[in-house]
Amino acid sequence: MQTTRRNLFKFLGGSAVGVMFTPAPWRLITDTALWSENWPGIPRPVRGEIKTRYTTCALCPAGCAVRARLVGEQPVALMGVPAHPLSLGALCPFGLTGHHLPYHPERLKQGPAHEAAGAVANAIAQCGPNERIAVLDLRPGRTASWTYRRAMAAVKNGVYLTAPRPLGGAAVNLAAARTVLSIGVPLLEGWGTPGNVLAARAGFRLIQAEPFESRTAALADLWLRINPGSGRSLALGLTAQLEGKAMPAQAAAETGLTESQIADLAADLAHNGPALVLAGEDVPEVAPLNRLTGAWGKALIARAEAPVPDSWKKAAPPAGLASVPDGSIRALLIDESVPGDYIPWNAIAPKLVPDNPVVVAFAWSRNGYGRHAQFTLPTAVYPEMTGDAPAATDSPAAAFRISTPLVPAPAGMVDPAAFIAGAAGMDASSALRERADAIHKTGRGTLFTCADAKSTPVKEVKPEDFWKALNEGGCWVDAAGKPSAPVEETGWQAKTPAPQEASDLPLLVALTDLPGATGLISPLMSKLYQESNLRLGPNRAALNPASAAACGVSEGAHAVLQTRLGERPIQVTVSASVPPGVVEVGASPEILDICGAFSRARVAQS
């Protein structure tokens, strides 16, 4: 037969008509639409049985109770525990996203544990008579902290260092305060236990005294704008007024307030008491001031820690960096495994011996002391870690609660308590259990169990059940009244205020609180830092439009923040709410290494 081109076209034409009556073209159209909607790169959530587990958040000293929602064995959401006596069902944004931390891209996965152990052992062996082996604990009060104290007592020349405890270790009872004067303390920005602070908020009038408008100042009932660094003068002025003495001239001069403003404030505190005065460790005058305002014993009380076993009493006492002579620390082990207040490296470096000091940092990332340490050892991050949380600053009663892992830690993680105990020849693997047993033995207090939201007196709970409940997010709260253990008077440790800096650098630094600064924050926190204007991002510096123009930078520009101690690349945010002549930066470890509060700086184009 003849197959001409014409016949071929007829064949093809017939096929075209025929194929319309088959599913093929219609299915291909549908499939293309479906394929374009179900884009292969989009992850599908894993399905499974929904479970609930309870634990304690380890991201800050508040130690809020956490209810985790798991799909199978994987946590997918964290929420508060509503009836909890201490945290009252609240979690902050960091706590709500804690389950993301194990997957953080900057999370350390391995470290030279053997070499570090060898170096520390050598240092201990070779430690000279005037030298020291030191542990720096950024979050004191935990059971691990006691392990370090016992280890340093066992090691010759061991010393246990911590940052000064807020308020000298006293506890705050906000419910008993009618007025709160906060000298620069970020009361509404993650101080204490958020749920507790916010529940008590309606019961007191808040006066915030600080030079720059923080979120707390914006939310306070009254914001007193005082000059940078004049908190002590304000406290001295108020003390004099309340004692009926003449007000020192420096009070008004240094704070920038008038004498009558300070006098009115003092009268306010006296008449609307109990008035609690809060300040940082740079204002030791706050202690006697709280006695004058009637806060001591009511809103500010001595509170013991949760009991410890008697065998632990042989432990090194907490000491500050200032108590260690310069150039004396041969080996320094820094526990950065839970986020805590960062002590700038320039305060630590002079304390190390000049020849080959050994510095080991236990951390989640290299962003903190990992930049300076010889050995950075990775630790389990929250929610992989086991630890405990002592009562927070704003809990009138002592408390004990355990963080139990929600997910297993990857291989290669180091437990700082085990490492340091091992270096001292101790075994502290059952420290948490020993402590729980010691608490149970006192028979004091109540045990709160999360699943049924019940508080049971400890006397009615068997030791095994007590331990089991603690490992399921349970919380021990001490009975009110006489403390169960002697209160360790650590006293108010005054930090020597930094001398006024040379003013050839045009800008004044305002540090904004960056909770979790030494740890990692969930990538989802970009909602607050990048996808909204709510908070200043970790690598950003905010300038007033006039100041930005003077520095020659504009919004989003990559620039350099220079101080007398060093410099750091930053990205500029232009914001009219920053006063002229001020640069606002988040208090990350990198920033704290080059400037403190109220340092002077310059922003230059990079």
């Binding site: 071929l8 017939g14 075209a16 194929v19 009556f21 499939d31 394929w35 179900n38 049985e49």
Partner: protein, 187 residues
């Protein structure tokens, strides 16, 4: 003899129809067998199991779907019969504690929300209405999946059960007056 032109046309039509109806399904679907040669009939008859014994609801109303290994290991820790399929299952999955990667015939796309318990408990529907009489089958048919969209072939309906496309759900919903809003069935 000259072949008339229209025969080419007709030939083309018939070829296309044949290719489209008989050949296209083989091209568009990829097929794979289920990991275990499971017989519903044996379990329904010998073990007296009903659908909900293995495909159960949890306390919070969620549907457990295809049972996990521990449901099977409960009985099959040791061989209960003599079939090679059971022996393979025990050796390959029970002993090493490995979850079989079952292919779910009725798997809907991610944006679909279907609540089994609402239909079964509140709606009083029987499993066979949507899934066909799966309980009477002796083997599991191979899982066929559209190569381009990734959907299971069962979505378009089988001989045993009507389809599970949105139109099929909407038909029934309209008949019974349960139609309020798109987000009732989407997530």
């Amino acid at each position: 003899m000259r072949i008339p032109g229209y025969l080419f046309f007709l030939g083309g039509t018939l070829a296309a129809l044949g290719a489209g109806w008989a050949g296209f399904p083989h091209v568009i679907y990829e097929s794979r067998p289920q990991p275990v040669d499971f017989s519903h009939k044996v379990h329904a008859e010998k073990a007296g199991a009903k659908c909900e014994d293995c495909h159960s609801f949890r306390d919070d109303g969620t549907f457990a779907g295809v049972p996990a290994l521990d449901k099977c290991s409960g009985c099959h820790a040791a061989p209960m019969g003599t079939t090679p399929a059971e022996k393979n299952f025990i050796d390959g999955y029970v002993t090493p504690n490995r979850q079989p990667q079952w292919a779910v015939y009725a798997r809907q796309p991610e944006n679909v929300y279907f609540s089994h318990i609402t239909h079964v408990k509140l709606g009083g529907m029987k499993c066979e209405v949507c899934h066909g009489d799966e309980g009477a089958t002796d083997t599991l048919r191979p899982y066929q999946q559209d190569r381009i969209s990734g959907y299971s072939r069962d979505i378009w309906g089988t001989a045993a059960a009507k389809g599970m496309k949105m139109d099929d759900c909407v038909d029934c919903h309209r008949k019974h007056g349960f139609e309020h809003s798109c987000l009732d069935c989407h997530k």
